[in-house]
Amino acid sequence: MSEAARRLMPNERLRVALHAADALRRATLARTLAEDGYIVVGLAGAADVVLADGSCPAGETRIVVALGGNDDDVAGVLPLDADTNQIDAAIRAVAAGLIVRPPGARESGFGAMRETDGQALLTPRELEVLAALAEGLTNKAIARRLDISLHTVKFHVESLFRKLGARTRTEAVAKASERRRRETIVL
């Protein structure tokens, strides 16, 4: 097994140095890392990966996972509110020599106003169903909340999948949120 592949194995104890200006955040992240089986070392210590809350510290030459920030030079970039599974996965991935970016990260930048595709626009009812999907509700629960039949819910969910080009509920929620980010306008 290659060194890179071995490092992706969950039983490898990686050393992680933590860079966080906020004491509370540092404590929370340190606890999370320890629970995930990492050895948390001081910033000056020998570390396999540096986890930075916000921008990466100046002059850092080790492999960095940054929470938030938008630095092309670091190996790992996660959203500021990344969950513990994502942080864990990102640390293992960068330690194995991979680059980690959240979906949509490269979408940001000064861009053109996009006209929406009229065929794929969601109806207000579909948006309500989508909001319920995002909360993890079952079809039955959605029917109860919106006071519509189970059959109608299924109809809306299928229509959502088709319009969003999604195969699963999670994918539908993710694609809709990406689209909302692009298509929201402020007047």
Partner: protein
Amino acid sequence: MSDPKDPLVQFSKALVSRVEAGKDAVAAIRLGHGRHVTALVWQSGVVVASEQTLPRQEEFELVAPGGSVMTAKLAGRDPSTNIAILKPAESIAVPAIAAGEAQTGSVALAIGADGAGGASARLGLVNLAGSEWHSSRGGLIDRRIVLDVRLARREEGGPVFDAAGACLGMSTFGPRGQVIVIPTATIQRIVPQLAKDGRIARGWLGVTLQAVAVPDALRESADQSSGLMVMSVVEDGPAAQAGIVAGDIILSVDGTSTHRFRKIARHFGSDSIGRKAEVRLIRGGGVMTVQTTIAERQAA
């Protein structure tokens, strides 16, 4: 050693002299943590930067060409055209640079600030020079100029020159890491307004909107297939005062359909401020009309 008549040597020397000429046009704006972005020395007392690169603060440290460090006050920013201007505390000599017109296929030389008073350079092509376009924030950009060039984050905001040394505009990151140029014409148009008012005035209703399909049952009375659903309403904004609530679907403003974003964005230019507007919308299964007065958009 090298033959001075060798075309490649001459080409390289020409580039070096271009960069030498261009380096006085770039300053570095320090962002902290040892990071910086580039600014374009535009005129006496004004440097131009890429708005999206600047954090929300009033004062920055600027490294002028040559390396002297000074403070620079933010004097205006316009997210809709991605232009910000800063006024340095000390005067910076402005190099004489002509405005250039981009042509697809022409050589493009992008200059960045190295953070210590010097310059870094990137060479590529104008990948595409097209017509005017509207940004997602509603601003009008005079030409679509896309570069085939790599750029570091710290180089964004620097000038882009053509082969004759004329300035095509300011380098800017577009979506998906694409490098685009905010044309010189746009900077020339926006900077005087920014210097005067600190912002580009824009009409405002105080609503966040998302495009939705009009439900089948209402298509006929709405007479259009899509509209903009109100997702949130700013308290005490014009829309709130007119009784517009979240869930309403706006169909048109003064007869301009919301079916096309660009058309509706054009309707909210600086001349719209203070104008009465008739908003046609769907609420509770029916189509109705409310009156409102367009206000000035607050700083983003």
